[in-house]
Amino acid sequence: MNIERFQKILEAYGSREENWPSSERREAQLFVQDRVDAQQFLQEHLQEHLQEHRLLDIRLDEYLPRQSPATRDNVLKNLPVSSLDSFLNWLIPEFRTDIWHPLVAGTLPLVIGIVIGTNASMGTLDNDNAESADNWQAEDVYFLALDESQITMGLIND
């Protein structure tokens, strides 16, 4: 810390120590307290300057921001929601999105299970149908074969 740097801090950040850069604050405080040359410089050149910055800081504090109590509610009211959320809100007013998310996550395995189960059973039915058609044909051939064997046996007996 030197006089030039201290002056630069004062001009940029003002007279309040809490506004000075945190990395240099302690050093700047010690500089003002301990350094004789700084004290002399302050006395000779900076005192008026420092006073001006103090007054300016006080003046700046007069700039109060307008308070708008409705802002919080307006932000929450205007949050964009997904189409599913808005549908659920329409369906069940006051439906909370933080409830349906785990609910959907919980029912998802059930839905997937039903879909897989339905598809699997449809496949099995198709197979069964195919097999029963094959069996029918086999049985038909078998009976025909029996008839032929009975004829053959009759011929033998004759």
Binding site: E11, A12, E52, P65
Partner: protein, 181 residues
Amino acid sequence: MGLDEPDLVRKSINGDQSAYQLLLDQHLSSVSNFVMRMMANTAEADDIIQETFIRLWTHGDKFNPEKAQLTTWLHNIAHNLCIDHFRKFKRLVEEPGTEKASALAGPEDKAIQADMTATVQEAMMKLPERQRSAIIMCHYQGLSNKDAAMILDVSVDALESLMARGRRKLKQMLLVDGQLQ
């Protein structure tokens, strides 16, 4: 509670409104003060504040806690929205204070305070936008010089130069012979 801000932001991205409301309650006042001072307390400030927090809801995934604190990220969004607004409606910014006078009419002390606020506000609005931003961020908002420099996309040296020039102009406008006006 036991949840830090990055956790709350993650929950908020996933649609958790209670996490979002906690973040809103933590940052609304600070961001609101920043925007109000940047925008000279005009009605447009409300829209910018709302838009800033809607971005937190819709674009929270862009927040990187390793790069910046949430307050810095929100100030950055708010600052960019203010600058966009100034560029779009330049004339409105050059005529500050009209709405203010009617909004704060009331008891005598309120009127005096409004008058004091209006004087400083008028001086602030005469500053170039970057000087005003730098002073508001460091003097009023308590942002560190590094965070303010990051938001303005300048070096810390350049930030200090902006603040020094801004304060010099404010002194000329607000102080007469080193005294309060």
